[in-house]
């Protein structure tokens, strides 16, 4: 059997893996999805990502690419078909990269801390910080979308994928702790964006259903950081 020229190592509940799947689908790239358990790493994973030992890993013609945002940029660089993922203007590109890094390094980790939090006080403080972050992201949305439905404009792009991949987990957290994060009164632009993004097939075909993520959320309460990035 021939080895597929594009392989993605990962597992579906990982938002980082979802990012790559969304990008590959946007470009209509056929790929082989190779299931990897980040908690029981295979020899194969350790061989293709010896540095970070994490999913996702994209393998294209035998060459491994790691780190979800770097993979998304690679997909945009390597395949010319389909819509461009990053904006064409260099300033808009820099802005998209900035906010994607903010989301990954500052904002979404708050959800992991929230899941691991053991006191009501700690939970309350983290929820407040999440909301503060959402206010910043609302401003970013207004700036980047320029009145259009998505961060990328008429179609989804890099920043939509960067933030959108987390929406499954955001919803699962909302259900698990009874807090509505994407509030149409506090952050109307983002709330509308999230509704639109989550109703796209790009999202629905890739991100697991909320109920499944809620079950996983419960399993991980108190456990700490996941093994993907």
């Amino acid at each position: 059997m021939a080895i597929a020229s594009v392989q993605l190592l990962g597992e579906s509940p990982s938002p980082y893996v979802n990012r790559v799947q969304i990008a590959l689908n946007l470009k209509s790239i056929e790929f082989e999805f190779i299931q990897e358990n980040p908690y029981d790493k295979s020899e194969r994973l350790l061989k293709v990502n010896p540095v970070q030992k994490k999913i996702p890993v994209l393998i294209h013609d035998g060459k491994p690419i790691c780190e979800s945002l770097i993979i998304v940029e690679y997909i945009d660089d390597a395949w010319n078909n389909g819509p461009p993922i990053l904006p064409s203007d260099p300033h808009d590109r820099a802005l998209a990269r900035f906010w994607a890094a903010y989301i990954d390094n500052k904002w979404f980790p708050l959800y992991r801390e929230l899941r691991a939090a053991s006191t009501e006080e700690a939970r309350k403080e983290l929820i407040e910080r999440i909301f503060e972050g959402l206010v910043l992201l609302e401003e970013a949305f207004v700036k980047c979308s320029k009145g259009k439905p998505f961060f990328g404009g008429d179609n989804i792009g890099y920043l939509d994928i960067a933030l959108g991949c987390y929406m499954g987990w955001v919803k699962a957290t909302e259900v698990s702790i009874g807090v509505k994060f994407l509030d149409e009164f506090k952050t109307p632009g983002l709330a509308e964006w999230a509704d639109k993004f989550c109703s796209l097939n790009d999202f629905k075909e890739v991100v697991p259903e909320t109920q499944k993520l809620v079950e996983i959320y419960k399993m991980f309460q108190g456990r700490g950081k996941p093994a993907s990035g």
Binding site: V51, Q52, I65, E73, D77, A78, A94, R97
Partner: protein
Amino acid sequence: MAPEKELVKLIGFWASPFVLSVRWALKLKGIEYEYQEENLLKKSPLLLQYNPVYKKVPVLLHNGKPLLESLFIIEYIDETWKHNPLLPQDPFERAKSRFWAKFAHEKCIGPMIKAFFKIGEEQEKCVKEACEHLKILESGLEEGKRFFGGETIGFVDIAVAWMGCWARIVEEVLNVKLIDEEKMPRLIAWFKNVVEVPMLKECMPPTQKLLEHNIRFRKLLVAAAERHQSSPLTGP
């Protein structure tokens, strides 16, 4: 060259290596720019206006539009001024460059900076983490190459190779060991190759001045840590 005058302004701090890496990019591209020195203890309204999220330098202003975070600024410079490319053309090599620059920043430089803000066991943990990751960075360098990508200076060189000088300062100020001469020969050679390029060397702040600045800075942090029994955390 653009027909209109390009207004380029860099808001920086003389002792910041992240500002240095942007200066290197601007220098390699031959871009003229105005420089504004920031007093980080009393940040200017301009800095707070253009970087409200992190309130940090460097900030590059190009025709009034702000660019933030050194790695993204360097990519912006490369995409806007296309001569003397810093990132490789090949998509896989580009991904590799981005990967290693990100790895160096998050896993080597991050813990080094954290160590500066910590004392005792917590500091030891940061130092250990930085060392382990420096060994991995060593493995990412290919044998026989003068710079990261080959014979020409590129993105990873300017984003990362200043780390050799700063690591030595951290070693001296904290009395710790980061760079292992025996286990990191490629890293040491690479750092040297980059910082000795004349147009990059002339941008470097004087080592003695940098050392004295960091000794003073560390003393302030230790005093604060001992008073409050905790240290402020920061990142690059």
